[in-house]
């Protein structure tokens, strides 16, 4: 097990955003977390990446207990994260956005090394042509790409992606899919949140389904989509996916 969460809980006032959640991620695996809006998926990533502390439970990354570590330390230990609500540094160029990840991420790099890493990731994510653009001038699709590329630039062992394909055209989503696959080929494990079911089907080795903060099902794409609880959870919500 590369990453394991046990008994993870987080409350916001009266809302139990995440409740006694257990899950793990194996080396080289791609795990999807799905669930209706407000199920607590983003909160799980916030707990993992250290945006705020968990109320209860434990998070272990490759044998190290990271439950109480601040966000920057978790990044240094190999957690790279892309936010659902994109957070590019608006006045920095696309290239400089990636430089931040490359310089301070899981590997501390010199300027020269970071520049090299940045160019690699720019090429991998298809951003080379826009590298000199200020991030604020990007389209949403471009911003999502920078968000993911910056996390990749940190050289993570686990990549946490939060709906990086939401709002993209099918072709753009396909390009992002190819990038995630390519990253996995380099031995990085991926945990991603996604509403687009086609992406989940094509990409995930395993799927965790959340509803009201709890895990309601876990297994292969086929297993979970046939699960009665999952069908119930999604019933009445809009048909998810572009399959």
């Amino acid at each position: 097990m590369l990453l394991a969460a046990t008994d993870l809980s987080k409350r916001f006032g009266g809302v139990a955003a995440v409740r006694r959640l257990d899950f793990h991620l194996d080396p080289g695996e791609i795990l999807a977390i799905i669930g209706p809006n407000g199920a607590g998926k983003t909160t799980v990533l916030n707990l993992l990446s250290g945006v705020f502390p968990a109320d209860e439970g434990r998070i272990v990354l490759d044998g190290t207990d990271i439950t109480r570590l601040p966000a920057e330390d978790r990044c240094h230990l190999g957690l790279g994260r892309a936010f659902q609500v994109v957070q590019p540094f608006p006045e920095m160029t696309v290239r400089d956005n990636l430089m931040v990840g490359a310089l301070f991420g899981a590997r501390q790099r010199s300027l020269a090394e970071a520049r090299k890493r940045t160019e690699e990731v720019l090429a991998l994510t298809g951003l080379s042509g826009r590298a000199a653009m200020p991030a604020r001038d990007l389209t949403l699709a471009g911003e999502k790409r920078v968000e993911m590329a910056r996390a990749i630039a940190t050289s993570p062992r686990v990549l946490l992606l939060d709906e990086v394909m939401a709002g993209l055209l099918p072709q753009e989503a396909d390009e992002m899919l190819a990038v995630v696959r390519a990253v996995r080929e380099t031995g990085v494990a991926v945990l991603f949140i996604e509403h687009v079911m086609r992406v989940v089907r094509d990409l995930a080795d395993r799927v965790v389904v959340m509803d009201f903060g709890e895990k309601i099902a876990e297994g292969s794409y086929r297993d979970v989509t046939g699960h009665p609880k999952v069908i119930e959870a999604y019933l009445g919500t809009e048909e998810t996916g572009g399959a």
Binding site: S49, G50, V51, P70, A71, E72, C75, H76, R81, F83, Q87, F89, P90, E91, M92, T93, D96, M99, V100, G101, L103, F104, G105, A106, S110, L111, A114, A132, M133, R150, A151, T154
Partner: protein
């Protein structure tokens, strides 16, 4: 703009040699004040690059000034007293930084302002034989008070601040500072050690301000709480940096050259109230030219290069 820096340096070196007749002394004096203002403004800017808007430059300037004066009056060799300026300012800023580092934006600004006022009052109220109270102290001059020598010493001080600014700009720190300013949480998630970096910026900026404070005192020959710790100094620092162009090395220096010369010109006409210029400029720049003067240049360069 590659030539601009070296050209400015050459001009600065030549200032005392300009044949200005009876105005020779005056020209050197104004140029010295420009150096002082540029130093404080640029030191302020270095910290501003992390998004922490400090209203306490006056406190660190004053600490540097008093450290030099008090030590020098007690027989400490002048060069050592001079170095105490940045050391004392840096040490105090480390303490202040540690307690204020969780404050954001506005709250940080107000806390630093309050701090500066407390320090001023403390220096007024300390025992008379130590700080001279409200009337202050007379400071022993460096280099025997030799005007041209002191001008070149001031140039060295400013060059040191410029070097620090350029070092930050062309190192990993530049990325850390900018990332923190534009999104602190995101920066943390990308591995930037925010607390450490902010503290570094704070202490670096305060030490440099303290250095300029010690220098200014060795040139002005006195310290007075109301002036040396005065809010006017902080206002000038940030107005100068904002006018010239924040987050750059050239901006604050350019701003100081123009604003301080303007101020001296106005001072000949008006005995008081010339600070109004700083107020008006602050207003106009915030409203119409948020990037300051250097952004005019950068915009032209960008248009010419077609992007970047």
């Amino acid at each position: 703009m590659r030539w601009a820096g070296p050209a400015a340096l050459v001009v600065a070196l030549l200032v005392p040699l300009v044949p200005a007749g009876g105005y020779q002394q005056y020209v050197v004096q104004v140029a010295t004040f420009v150096l002082i203002n540029a130093g404080v403004a640029l030191a302020w800017d270095i910290q501003a690059r992390t998004g922490q808007l400090s209203l306490a430059p006056a406190a660190f300037f004053g600490l540097g000034a008093y450290a030099y004066t008090i030590a020098a009056l007690r027989g400490v060799p002048l060069p050592v007293a001079f170095l105490l300026g940045p050391l004392v300012a840096g040490a105090v800023s480390l303490g202040l930084g540690v307690v204020t580092l969780r404050l954001q934006g506005l709250y940080f600004a107000i806390a630093t302002l309050a701090f500066a006022e407390v320090v001023k009052v403390i220096f007024k109220e300390l025992p008379l034989d130590l700080t001279g109270g409200a009337v202050g102290l007379t400071a022993p001059p460096l280099l025997g008070g030799h005007q041209t020598g002191l001008y070149y010493l001031g140039l060295c001080v400013l060059l040191l601040v410029v070097a620090a600014s350029l070092a930050v700009r062309h190192s990993r720190l530049h990325y850390a500072f900018t990332a923190i300013r534009q999104g602190e949480l995101t920066a943390r998630v990308l591995g930037v050690r925010v607390v450490r970096t902010k503290l570094l910026a704070f202490v670096l900026s305060a030490s440099l301000t303290g250095l300029v404070g010690a220098y200014a005192t060795s040139r002005l020959f006195f310290v007075i709480p109301e002036d040396t710790f005065g809010i006017g100094l902080s206002v000038t620092a940030l107005a100068t940096a904002i006018f010239g162009g924040v987050y750059t090395t050239a901006g604050p220096v350019l701003g100081a050259i123009i604003l301080r010369s303007l101020e001296e010109g106005l001072r000949m006409v008006l005995r008081e109230g010339y600070l109004a210029v700083y107020g008006v400029i602050l207003m106009l720049v915030i409203l119409y030219l948020p990037g300051g003067l250097v952004s005019l240049w950068n915009r032209r360069a960008r248009d010419a290069a077609g992007g970047d």
